[in-house]
Symmetry: C2
Subunit: 461 residues, 2 copies
């Protein structure tokens, strides 16, 4: 076996031609999406009112393990994929650890993250269906940027509801989206009923992903030839992100890298679910005992402190109901600097895997996250996104544990993106003014109190 | 020959182990650096008062065609090199041109540009010499960021004088440099005599690279165990950037790509000189007739409208004299959005190649540059730095010419970096408020009037 290079780049011919459908390998399926009015499983027709046809088909597909990636989309992926799997030689040296550390780096495209993987897919299917307009929400701005890039490429109009606190923290993110031709509206806004309702109740709110989703959904339904696209949480988004895991698996096999643990940050869960898909699949089949760890912010601890229950995906409580770990759709997380992780819920697939014991979850505080981010930047060069640095924090902690025990473990984590548009956050950390906003149990109770009520038999389905 | 992939990545083993010393292949050497007091060629000892020993040796080396890259530095380069040579398939399609377009993309590291190639080299030699502190200037901020990254890696203190207008336009650049541990001072400042003198004469100036150089030079001389490092212009900086050209040559040979023209942006000239080195060398030897085109901003047209004369490198007129195309050290270019190209002079090597007819020069206006940048972003995905987009503009113009003539030319340009920290500029373009600040002949005369006076025989040397 040749020495492992700093960066493992697969060739373009090695880009996976199939997405990996987790639901085809899970022993038990996640509970179905419910119609909030009837508490009955959503039908294809109901979902197609909001989402593109082909995406609904993917959302509901529980049988095909591999779903083909269309050629036009592979052509788009070739502009920035395969993404590198990097050996963090310099971080290992800094930490003086016997562990081997690898990271799959999704930040090499202009959107600065993995979001482009699903953005391109969703815009491609929208175009194929003859749509002319899309709406979405964005938190940190990475999803909005990714979607704007894909919309520019495939020539579709785009309206982005951007979480207000993110729009304020990251004025230049807005400018990037606009450079790619997208229209940006800070959320909550007065352009929708959902936004006006939230503003009336919380006039000073910095917004949340949940609020922005409500507004984007409403606009999509009210606009001709327009659908809504979502950057995380849903099964079809996670499906598109499995290209990350598949590339990682191929690279690991090629260089005989055998991870003892795989670590990812979790906000809506799609990047994490995508990264771990082929690895957790082996675990489900009893062929692997790799540890799989999702890392979330202590300020928005949906997995570590949330409830596994049916809940709305949006703060406005208009979306279908998802069975997931949630803090309650009414929970508005404090304005941390990891906008992409400020979501009250979690991917139903990731939630189910956690519930069934295949994966672990861990919450970390943002000051310790930025400490890790700065260490990484100064040793490995790359400036990580705050979201990605949650996974990095856990990876560093595990590597330091190896230093104590002397174990030579192989740690692989997902570095989902770059922090070039997060300098306000870094400035706050550099100045020592960053705080950790950890909710009290009482804060969380408020969110749980708002969980949807339904006949017991419906919720037990 | 296999189909050319979107991105050609060489393997880490193919990273050149030698820099390419242009002066060893030039038929006539550039005129020597002069001491401004005596108008005699600078001695090694004089240069070592300001620069590191090994860099002075490289600066004055006119005989060795290949200069070995130290192993410790190759280890650093491996973190982000080889950089990709990209086939701009999507741009070609958008332009509907028969031309093939390639770009060597140096923006895949956090500094966002090629600057890291020389930053790492200079910091490495400083460390080796036992220095503990470095000073420098930065315009667009890419050089300052690159140097901060290298200083963090090799553990050396850094003070960066940042052109004031850039510091204002790019507050987050400052934050990045600080995240890597660098100290940033907007220039002109009151921390140096040179700064105070310039402020007294032009209290409202936005500064220039020339001003910032004066301040950094002064601080280096007055601080213990400290030297000055420069991000462009000088021969040793250009030398380090030849890794770009060497990688490009190797990739072209591997895939049988034969450029009809090679295009780069020119500010101080180092990225351009580095990119073209092996190609212009073949031209000098009479074995190639490739066209080589340097593209500069119409607002700072040192090659297309400057004089070929001895001049200071800095506005404070304290540096050694360089024989180069210059607008005069006293010329302060209007505050355009391409901070990295706002330099009154030009690399002596590039100047000499231009003077001897091996290369062409062209000036472009910034509104047309941003038009090109936006076209590129929307088709190829990547958001270019304004500086890099000067080369892109010319490449697009050449590709459009091919569409008219039907010629299937091969165009290769250097995309030196990304524009993530240039969003103020893009916002100004998006809003339609961007202007082209083209100097009048009278404006230029003022700069020329300040060219250093010396006995005629000295200047003719």
């Amino acid at each position: 076996m040749a020495k492992i290079p700093y960066k493992i780049y697969l060739s373009e011919d090695e880009i996976p031609r199939y997405w990996f459908n987790m639901k085809a390998v899970m022993k038990e399926l996640p509970d179905p999406i419910l119609n909030p009015a009837t508490f009955e499983p959503c039908t294809t027709e109901e979902l197609e009112q909001v989402f593109c046809k082909e995406l609904v088909e993917q959302e509901l597909n529980t049988t095909d393990q591999f779903i083909e990636i269309p050629q036009e989309l592979l052509d788009f992926y070739r502009m920035y994929r395969p993404s590198p799997l990097v050996r963090a030689y310099c971080l290992e040296k800094l930490l003086d650890t016997p562990a081997e550390i690898y990271y799959k780096f999704e930040g090499t495209n202009t959107s600065g993250s993995h979001k482009l993987n699903s953005a391109a897919a969703q815009v491609y299917y929208a175009k194929k269906q003859g749509l002319t307009h899309l709406t979405t929400e964005t938190g940190a701005g990475q999803w909005g940027t990714a979607l704007a890039m894909a919309c520019a490429y495939f020539d579709i109009d785009l309206t982005v509801y951007m979480v207000k606190v993110s729009a304020q923290q990251k004025p230049y993110r807005k400018a990037v989206i606009e450079t790619y031709g997208g229209k940006v509206i800070p959320s909550p806004s007065d352009t929708t009923e959902a936004g006006r309702r939230i503003l009336a109740e919380y006039p000073d709110t910095g917004g949340s992903l949940g609020c922005a989703i409500s507004e984007a959904l409403e606009t999509a339904v009210k606009t001709d030839n327009c659908k809504y696209v979502l950057g995380s949480v849903l099964d079809h988004v996670l499906l598109h992100q499995t290209i990350i895991g598949e590339e990682t698996r191929i690279a690991c096999e090629k260089y005989d890298i055998r991870p003892d643990m795989i670590i990812g940050c979790i906000g809506g869960g799609s990047n994490f679910g995508g990264l771990i898909a082929p690895f957790v699949s082996e675990k489900i089949k009893g062929r692997s005992d790799v540890r799989i760890i999702g890392v979330e912010p202590a300020s928005c601890p949906s997995m570590t402190r949330g409830k596994y229950a049916y809940d709305y995906g949006d703060t406005g409580k208009t979306s279908p109901l998802l069975k997931m770990y949630t803090l309650g759709a009414g929970y508005i997380p404090s304005p941390s600097h990891s906008g992409g992780l400020r979501f009250h819920g979690m991917s139903p697939i990731v939630s189910k895997l956690y519930h069934d014991g295949y994966i672990e979850a861990r919450a970390v505080e943002q000051t310790s996250v930025f400490e890790a981010a700065t260490m990484f930047a100064r040793s490995e060069g790359t400036l990580p996104a705050p979201e990605s640095a949650h996974a990095l924090r856990a990876a560093i902690d595990e590597a330091l544990r190896c230093r104590e025990t002397g174990e030579k473990k192989t740690i692989l984590f997902g570095l989902t993106g770059t922090g070039f548009f997060d300098m306000t956050a870094y400035m706050s950390y550099n100045e020592g003014s960053m705080v950790d906003n950890i909710p009290t149990d009482k804060d969380l109770e408020k969110g749980f109190a708002g969980l949807p009520q339904a006949p017991k038999e419906a919720l037990l389905k």
